[in-house]
């Protein structure tokens, strides 16, 4: 479509983006439109406030964390490339791809998805989910009537189950292991982004 091409040409480095993320041109265009509609002030960058304007995120228990995950490196703005790269995490993984080990891990592989999820918990980015961080997440995901003691006991049991090296925190490896039997591709993929 003519308009697709013209939109594509507006985006810098779009070829590289498509290669890295695996999105088709049509998807890139759609995401660009979405990016533009979120970027009210037309600065070419998104800020956390722009995400805050998305109505439905306000009723998502971990909505703010997700917003935080988009601005991962402590940056204050998000450009289109980063936006797309993060969304690429949620593409369904291709099957039976024989990967060349020298190539970087594809963005939508199981490990990458798990890394993204890990970020949601590990807010201080020290590579471990501490008990306090776990408590925070649990608090946000549980109903208000749950008491502190109940929360603490759940957090205790969670850590007990997953913590293999007994350091009272969950590292990425332990996190990954605890989700061994879960089909991450199903749980962390959005069909649309195929």
């Amino acid at each position: 479509m003519g308009s697709t091409n013209s939109t594509l040409s507006k985006i810098p480095n779009v070829e590289e983006l498509m290669r890295e993320t695996g999105f088709s041109p049509a998807h890139i265009v759609r995401l660009y439109d979405r990016f533009e509609s979120l970027d009210k002030e037309k600065t070419g960058h998104l800020r956390p406030e722009d995400f805050g304007a998305i109505n439905r995120l306000a009723t998502n228990p971990i909505g703010d964390r997700i917003i935080g995950a988009f601005f991962s490196a402590g940056q204050e703005t998000l450009d289109f490339h980063s936006f797309v790269k993060i969304l690429a995490h949620f593409r369904p993984a291709e099957n039976h791809r024989l990967r060349d080990p020298s190539l970087p891990e594809p963005v939508n592989s199981r490990t990458s998805k798990l890394k993204f999820a890990f970020q949601l918990y590990d807010l201080d980015k020290d590579g471990k989910i501490s008990r306090a961080e776990l408590l925070q997440v649990l608090r946000s995901m549980m109903e208000t009537q749950v008491t502190e003691e109940q929360l603490e006991s759940i957090a205790d049991r969670t850590i007990q189950e997953a913590d293999l090296d007994r350091d009272d925190a969950i590292s990425f490896e332990e996190f990954r292991k605890s989700l061994d039997r879960v089909n991450i591709d199903h749980k962390m993929s959005i069909r649309f982004l195929r």
Binding site: R30, L31, R34, S37, L38, K40, P48, E49, D50, F51, G52, A53, I54, N55, R56, L57, A58, T59, N60, P61, I62, G63, D64, I66, F70, L87, F90, A117, L120, Y121, V137, L138, S140, M141, M142, E143, T144, Q145, V146, Q150, S153, I154, R157, T158, E161, A162, S178, L179, R181, V182, N183, H186, K187, M188, S189, I190, R191, F192, L193, R194
Partner: protein, 738 residues
């Protein structure tokens, strides 16, 4: 154990009573003047002009269908024989107790039938295992067959029928009204393209192919000679048998939990194809009357034009009534008690008015419901809202029950149909094959434009879920057998087709879907880690979907929102509600920058009173998670097709000794499910989803305030400049994102 016997006993009783009354009654309408009994107003059957939908379908009224309601086929009259008995006994004395059967006859019979239907429902649900395997519609049809058999035996003739008049004027509007009013509007319009495609193109494809192929089968001798039908008749039959039926779809899809997109597409298709069916039926009826030789090309164009008029006209009528209804409810503050009445009346009038002008009544009612819902829900009181919801659901449930029972009963009347194996088997094969083909082809085309493609399993469900039901039956019964000599064969075929689709397909759709599902490692208890993390993933996915804006039609929706806010809401919403809604919009659009001005103005944003706006439910389109979902989740019988959703049907029930799991299951916030049954009539949701959303919203806002306050101090000087500028502008400057 004893309970199952009460139903037949009840029936036998009512059948016997009816039979007795019927046998004693006399066709004459006049009372015997000698008897001097008081004039029984309820004597002559309250019959509407025969087949009021006759005008719609160009059919000469038939005497047998002259009576409406569930009245006897012969006019229910003063049983003069009984009267004579009484007069003999009277001899001038005072009768303390009299047998006033004829006086209460019609309402009594109606009430008994409804009672039987409802008691049957209770009995079904005693056996939970049974109900999860067999859909309710099946049971009802079987019950109808049994009842029909009993009545036939008791009185040697068929007393009850599914009268088209009763069906089209009372039963169908109830169901369609309920569906339209509670239709999730956003979902409907998001998938409107798909719905229109399937409804129009799909139905036309089915109708023509079936019609032509049946004719071909007749030509080749597969269908017997005694079925006297030409091409036109077969096309007519094809038209009425190919339409997917909303009642059946609702009934069966309620048991199978499919993702909401799939549901809305199939259900929307079943509603919108009414326009197509009506037009095809009318057009072919007139062709049949005129004779195929006399059909001119102009008539074909008229047919196409007629389709446009019928569909667009029907929609317009619905929208006009929706606007009227919304406008009326704006002023009902002092007459709260009758608010629900307005809703019912206007919605019903939308239906009848469309019927009046022979436009598509189903479309009219659907759009009336969709259009008025938002404004009416905001305008009327909480109690009225509850009343409307419960009444509609109750009526719709009863109507559905009656329809299925009567389908069963009508089947037993052998005088009305004639069996031809060739016709029946051909029809069954053709409708199935053509539906599957049609779905596959259309989906292929559709997937090139859709954001979320419809995959194989969806297509299988759509083809398999194309059920035919009572609408087809009512239409075939309306045929005039002077015009269409093969009518009896068509009736039999329709009955078999309806039974087959509702019962066989209804029964097997769940196992089929189960079989198709990607097999998972079932029957193992999830660990706590898994449970927590999986739930977090689900929330995460929901959030990413929202961020990526997976609903495609932003532009038009934004334009509509603007138009709605500036004109429609002002006109149709009550003043107080409108003002409250502005405030609510402000909260919704809160972002950190706006919060500055609010805090600066000293307002406490989080006054909980403000948050418990009753209109909150309508302001955002929160979808209801019905208790069916939870109920089935706990009992492990829900069948979920959406592979991404956490399938809580883990096979193994949550075990008692593991309190933590139980605790988690009960207290973790539920994600916005992607499979939701919207029309469960058995279980009503207490608005749990709204409560959850409200809690989360409050919490999120609070935390945003906190973070904002801490950063604010750091950047106080910068913010001061900006906030001074901002304090002047109202918070509604930012646009709402979805």
């Amino acid at each position: 154990m004893m309970l199952p016997f009460t139903v037949p006993v009840l029936l036998l009783l009512s059948a016997a009573v009816d039979a007795a009354a019927a046998d004693l009654s006399v066709p004459e309408a006049s009372l015997h003047p000698k008897l001097g009994l008081r004039d029984v107003g309820g004597g002559p059957a309250r019959s509407l002009p025969a087949s009021p939908t006759a005008s719609r379908f160009h059919v000469r009224p038939r005497n047998e269908y002259a009576s409406t309601g569930i009245a006897l086929a012969r006019s229910a009259e003063e049983p003069t024989a009984v009267a004579e008995d009484e007069s003999r006994h009277r001899g001038g004395g005072f009768q303390m107790v009299q047998w006033e059967w004829s006086y209460v006859q019609t309402p009594y019979i109606i009430a008994i039938w409804i009672l039987v239907a409802s008691v049957a429902k209770i009995l079904f649900h005693f056996s939970q295992r049974f109900t999860t395997v067999v859909p309710e519609s099946c049971m009802l049809i079987l019950l109808g067959l049994v009842l029909g058999g009993i009545v036939l035996l008791a009185s040697k003739k068929q007393l009850y029928q599914l009268e088209p008049g009763l069906f089209f004027l009372f039963l169908l509007p109830t169901i369609v009204g309920d569906a339209g009013y509670f239709m999730p509007a956003r979902l409907f319009f998001d998938n409107l393209g798909a719905i229109l495609l399937y409804a129009v193109v799909g139905t036309l494809w089915n109708a023509f192919c079936t019609g032509f192929c049946l004719y071909g089968a007749k030509y080749m001798g597969v269908i017997d000679e005694k079925v006297q039908a030409g091409l036109m008749e077969f096309l007519l039959f094809g038209a009425l048998i190919s339409a997917v039926d909303p009642v059946a779809v609702l009934a069966v899809f309620e048991e199978v939990h499919v993702n909401e997109t799939l549901f809305i597409i199939v259900f929307g298709e079943s509603l919108v194809n009414d326009a197509v069916t009506v037009v095809l039926y009318k057009v072919y009826m007139s062709f049949v009357e005129v004779g195929p030789e006399n059909v001119q090309t102009a008539d074909y164009f008229k047919g196409v034009a007629s389709f446009l008029i019928v569909s667009i006209g029907g929609t317009l009528v619905g929208l006009i009534f929706a606007a009227l209804l919304a406008f009326i409810t704006r002023f009902t503050k002092r007459v709260r008690i009758i608010e629900p009445l307005f809703v019912f009346l206007m919605v019903y009038l939308a239906y009848l008015t469309a019927e009046l002008f022979s436009l598509s009544a189903i479309l009219s009612m659907t759009f009336c419901g969709i259009g008025c819902n938002k404004y009416v829900e905001a305008n009327i009181s909480q109690k009225s809202r509850t009343t409307v919801k419960y009444t509609m659901k109750t009526l719709a449930s009863i109507a559905e029950t009656i329809i299925f029972i009567f389908l069963g009963i009508s089947a037993v009347d052998k005088t009305k149909w004639a069996w031809d194996t060739g016709l029946i088997s051909c029809t069954l094969i053709f409708i199935f094959v053509f539906r599957a083909l049609g779905v596959v082809m259309q989906t292929w085309v559709l997937n090139r434009f859709r954001l979320v493609p419809l995959d194989r399993i969806d297509q299988v469900v759509m083809s398999y879920g194309g059920l035919r039901g009572a609408v087809a039956f009512a239409l075939v019964v309306l045929l005039d057998d002077a015009q269409v000599p093969a009518k009896d064969y068509f009736v039999a075929t329709t009955i078999i087709v309806v039974f087959f689709t509702v019962m066989f397909q209804g029964l097997t759709i769940k196992p089929l879907v189960n079989w198709l599902k990607v097999p998972r490692a079932t029957n193992r208890k999830p660990t706590i880690n898994e449970e927590i993390h999986e739930r977090a993933f689900d929330h995460c996915l929901t959030a990413v979907e929202d961020i990526a804006g997976l609903n495609g039609y932003h532009h038009w929706r934004d334009k509509w929102e603007q138009f709605d806010k500036n004109y429609l809401s002002k006109l149709l919403l009550r003043k107080s509600v409108y003002r409250k809604s502005e405030l609510w919009e402000a909260y919704q659009k809160i972002n950190i920058r706006d919060a500055i001005s609010v805090i600066d103005q000293g307002g406490n944003v989080l006054t909980s009173a403000r948050f418990s706006l009753p209109s909150m439910a309508s302001r955002t389109s929160f979808q209801e998670v019905t208790n069916v979902t939870n109920y089935l989740r706990e009992n492990g019988s829900g069948v979920c097709l959406d592979l991404q959703v956490i399938d809580n049907v883990s096979g193994a029930k949550v075990e008692e000794e593991s309190e933590t799991h139980h605790f988690l299951a009960g207290n973790l916030y539920k994600p916005r499910r992607r499979y939701q049954s919207h029309y469960s009539r058995h279980f009503m949701t207490p608005g749990e989803h709204e409560r959850q959303d409200r809690e989360i919203f409050q919490r999120n806002m609070k935390s945003r305030m906190e973070t904002f306050k801490t950063t604010r101090h750091k950047r106080h000087s910068h913010k001061k400049d900006r906030s001074q500028k901002k304090a002047g502008t109202p918070p509604i400057s930012t646009r709402l994102e979805y």
